[in-house]
Assembly symmetry: C2
Homo-oligomer: 144 residues x 2
């Protein structure tokens, strides 16, 4: 069966770009700067189910996106204190990796973000800012 | 300043072995099969702060330990349904990676485990089982 994005991931996040068949999406939640990586491979649930090369790429992307979120000043976002990087998937079991910029004034700090409260949808300006952030990070990634 | 294990990580987990200066520890919590990886590098907080080679090794270890937890039957532990792999560190900011075996009857399912309830200390038999599991996984890791 070919890859098809899980309905819940589709509903909760916005596609920005892809790199080597890994979708780079932004969670539609104004409470956090939150990027989602989804490899376009059918029936993959666990990190160890991915081919080794894809595992490595996923982690390189995670590290670079985390660094970009932490070091890029963004309008209306306090300085990012910590990056949370995680594969959970207890509810949506299609493999997806979260990269979340956290700060002490955010809605869940210091708890993890998953399952805490409800998403606040991004407005158009913020969607554009998040898209620009991801594109800037990916431009740097591809130069290295 | 040389590496020194964070006091809270030390109190909450048990050293099992190390591989290329990455400590492999077991969380002292009978509610979950829960392994912790801690690179012995001072002042590292984020995945992207690690040298690239160490990032890769950490992720290879995470994937192999996750696979081992998921596929190894353990006494008194239901079949593992999902591996949760995460770098959070909002409270303890010394870089540490969690690998947690989850199942629908566990204490936090489907929520993440962090910050949920209180640890139940492992008894001696279970400590030995967890140690054996880690050693078995690492024997296989080093053969590959």
């Amino acid at each position: 069966m070919p890859f098809s994005l899980d309905n819940r991931l589709e509903a909760d996040s916005l596609f920005v770009t892809s790199y080597d068949d890994i979708q780079i999406r932004v969670m539609n939640d104004a409470r956090y700067v939150w990027v989602l990586l989804v490899p376009e491979i059918a029936n993959v649930t666990e990190l160890h189910d991915l081919p080794a090369q894809k595992q490595q790429l996923l982690m390189q992307l995670a590290a670079s996106i985390g660094a970009g979120i932490k070091t890029t000043p963004m309008p209306h976002v306090p300085a990012i204190a910590k990056i949370n990087t995680a594969l959970i998937g207890n509810i949506v079991n299609q493999l997806h990796l979260h990269i979340v910029g956290r700060h002490p004034d955010d809605a869940a700090w210091p708890a993890p973000v998953w399952g805490m409260g409800s998403a606040i949808k991004l407005d158009e300006d913020t969607i554009n800012q998040r898209r620009q952030l991801v594109h800037k990070i990916m431009d740097m990634f591809q130069e290295n």
